[in-house]
């Protein structure tokens, strides 16, 4: 018995030492992640084979890029106004319906229709910022959060009244015939799915360039780090926040148009996506655009892979698992993976 006890003590000590070490080094956590993912992939390939694994991987990536796109829109608003915009999905849905009217009912070319809808959404977003958000003190978050909740309810119901709740097919600008795919690692990768990856990637690059290389982008980054100091150096804070809202609305509409093609278009089609995008943005750290992309991919991959390979979870609990993972990550890292810590002075 004594030997057992001492064994136990030594293992707990070593375990706590390991935990301490893990907490200190970010890279160890990533390495641990890598090992878990590698083991899981190995198990998955051994049990169900190569093809299914890659099919699921592609599905997960498609969902991931979609979540990322919405998460980027959320992050832009968070950086600008410091709130989570609960109406982001509704605004994107409205933009997508505008694109639908333009493309399907008016016969505008798909890509052009999406671009026009993005421009209109940007105007709409800027208008919302000016009329509903700017009158409030930007440091007081509760009223702004409630306003976005009100927009969420109102816009969704309004769209339901106009367009009713029948699902509609939404066109894609990419080739989407039955034969438009190629095989990669034995699994089919469709061109329209690949198009989503490319569009979101392109958007990410353009957005990063916009924020890093232009004067407006510099102003935006400055305002998001400190409103007071930005005002002192002569930045028009209101205008800059408006720019952030416009940008977010346009990004959201693009995301909506890409998603509508994979699901179907109806007034509530963004709600489910929005929740995963919240999770993705939170996981990434809410104020990091790169984090939003990583967060989106992680959420979607956990959802698809855990749902696909672990029987207990199945499709019913896939979403639950993805959300549970986020809660666990938040408990370990309260500011998300890439979020900046907020230090308050009393």
């Amino acid at each position: 018995m004594p030997t057992n006890l001492s064994d136990e003590i030594s293992t707990t000590i070593s375990a706590s030492a390991v935990l301490k070490g893990l907490r200190k080094s970010k890279y160890t956590i990533w390495a641990l992640f890598g090992v878990v993912i590698a083991l899981f992939s190995l198990y998955a390939i051994v049990t169900d084979g190569f093809e299914l694994f890659f099919t699921r991987l592609y599905d997960g990536l498609t969902n991931g890029f979609i979540y990322s796109a919405m998460a980027i829109a959320l992050v832009l608003i968070y950086k600008a106004t410091g709130v989570i915009n609960f109406a982001q999905g509704s605004m994107a849905m409205l933009g997508t319906f505008v694109a639908y009217v333009l493309i399907v009912e008016q016969g505008v070319p798909t890509l052009l229709g999406i671009l026009i809808a993005m421009a209109l959404s940007a105007l709409f977003g800027a208008g919302i910022e000016r009329v509903l958000i700017r009158p409030f003190d930007p440091t007081n978050h509760l009223p702004i959060t409630i306003i976005t909740l009100g927009l969420f309810l109102g816009i969704n119901a309004f769209a339901g009244l106009i367009w009713l709740y029948d699902p509609r097919a939404f066109p894609t600008p990419f080739p989407s015939g039955a034969d438009d795919y190629f095989e990669l690692f034995g699994a089919r990768l469709r061109y329209d799915r690949l198009g989503i990856w490319i569009m979101v990637g392109l958007m990410f690059v353009l957005l990063t360039l916009l924020l890093r290389k232009t004067k407006a982008g510099l102003a935006f980054r400055s305002v998001s780090s400190s409103i007071e100091s930005s005002r002192l150096v002569g930045i028009n804070v209101g205008r800059t926040l408006q720019f952030g809202w416009a940008l977010a609305a346009a990004v959201g509409t693009l995301a909506g148009c890409l998603i509508a093609n994979t699901t179907l278009l109806e007034p509530n089609f963004m709600n489910r996506v929005l929740i995963f995008s919240f999770a993705a943005a939170t996981l990434g750290g809410l104020d990091s655009i790169g984090g939003a992309v990583v967060g989106g991919l992680i959420v979607a991959l956990v959802e698809t892979m855990a749902g696909g390979y672990i029987d207990v979870i199945g499709s019913e609990l896939a979403a639950t698992t993805a959300l549970a993972v986020i809660v666990v990550v938040l408990v370990v890292r309260p500011n998300g993976l890439y979020g900046s810590k907020r230090i308050e002075r009393v």
Binding site: I147, L330, P334
Partner: protein
């Protein structure tokens, strides 16, 4: 200026308070006889259930300042525990509701734990996840919860003979349930009121107002934050059990994200961080939908349109935004301002130190409507005057 000025703790003030309470009680108790039909009484029973659910949310969002979008799940836990214990294990309603509250208290503590590390919007996302996950869990454990088809308990609350109500008359049954629910709700409001006024209650409010200075003043943040979440979840679960008392049939879709958002709507429209605000909030939730759905034919464009009732949601959304601009204190704040035009309660100088009395008198003259918060917020009911 107010028509009547009452001095605090004089006979006249006492009479006013008692009269207001008496009026409120009479109005509440006479609703079944006015409403008449069982559907109409049932709607008022809904109001009571919603009011208790909003009360629970108010504890965590209004008093402790943490946005929770997951209260639908706690209401759902209370409802499911109650219906399972009553329907499958032959418990009585009241012990089952208490059991539901205890379980929800535990779950609330668990969810409150991340709240210690996660603040503000991160917490909103965590609670939002809870709201989304709950219906999925109900569907997953179909064998005990009944899954998507919902769950029904055979045992219904029937009025015993001493009440003089007919246990075969649907209207009488509805009235009996209404009175039971009023009793439960009354107990809950009283408990929460006492909690808010107690030492822990002040600690909770101190955390909301300034977390750091609360901690410096000796408030145990960890203890009180988790406890608030737990208690608020328990109150929500009682509301869930009350829904089952009202109608022993529930389905997972009732306790989804929609409910969580509507509770926030009711909280904001009624009045954040005031106890009586839950009542007008719940009345708006129940009757605004009913009224707008019944009268969609006023607008020709809506007449006969499928799903025209969605106009209620548009109005809720617009109402939420308008209230934040015009009446951030909610309906109850508007009601108090109106009442302030008629009755004004001023502090009794005899009860105050002389200097404070002089200052109070001066500021009353200057501002015109200074009312001591304790009097307006709790001792006078919403429907008084």
């Amino acid at each position: 200026m107010a028509l009547v000025t009452l001095t605090e703790r004089t006979v006249a003030h006492r009479v006013y308070q008692v009269a207001a309470w008496a009026l409120f009680t009479i109005v509440v108790l006479s609703i079944p006889s006015y409403a008449g039909l069982d559907a109409e009484i049932g709607r008022w029973s809904d109001v009571i259930c919603y009011a208790v659910a909003i009360l629970g949310l108010n504890l965590v969002t209004g008093y402790s300042g943490q946005i929770s979008l997951g209260h639908s799940a706690f209401v759902g836990i209370g409802a499911y525990v109650t219906i399972i214990l009553v329907g499958d294990h032959d418990w009585s309603y009241f012990t089952a509701i208490v059991a539901g509250a205890v379980i929800a208290f535990g779950v609330g503590l668990l969810i409150g734990l991340p709240a210690l590390r996660i603040r503000g919007l991160y917490l909103a996302v965590v609670t939002l996840s809870v709201a989304v996950v709950f219906p999925q869990l109900v569907q997953k454990f179909e064998s005990i919860t009944g899954g998507d088809n919902g769950k029904k308990a055979a045992a219904e609350l029937l009025p015993p003979s001493w009440t003089g109500l007919d246990s075969r008359n649907r209207n009488d049954i509805a009235a009996y349930k209404y009175y039971l629910l009023i009793g439960v709700a009354g107990i809950m409001f009283l408990l929460v009121r006492n909690l808010i006024r107690s030492r822990p209650g002040r600690a909770i409010v101190a955390i909301r107002d300034n977390q750091t200075s609360a901690a410096v003043s000796g408030v145990d943040l960890r203890l009180y934050k988790t406890l608030t979440f737990g208690v608020s979840a328990a109150v929500g679960a009682i509301a869930g059990g009350m829904f089952v008392m009202r109608e022993p049939f529930i389905a997972p879709s009732q306790f989804g994200l929609d409910l969580a958002i509507f509770l926030v709507v009711g909280l904001v429209l009624g009045g954040v961080a005031t106890l009586p605000g839950a009542i007008p909030g719940a009345i708006i939730l129940v009757f605004a939908r009913k009224l707008t759905t019944d009268h969609t034919d006023i607008i020709p464009w809506l007449d006969g349109r499928p799903g025209a009732g969605a106009i209620a949601d548009v109005l809720f959304g617009v109402g939420l935004i308008v209230f934040v601009f015009v009446l951030p204190g909610g309906v109850i704040d508007g009601f108090r301002r109106l009442r302030g035009l008629i009755v004004r309660v001023v502090p009794n100088p005899a009860w105050l130190p002389a200097a404070a009395a002089a200052a109070a008198a001066a500021s009353t003259q200057a501002v015109g409507s200074v009312e001591p918060v304790t009097v307006t917020s709790t001792t006078v009911p919403a429907e008084g005057t």
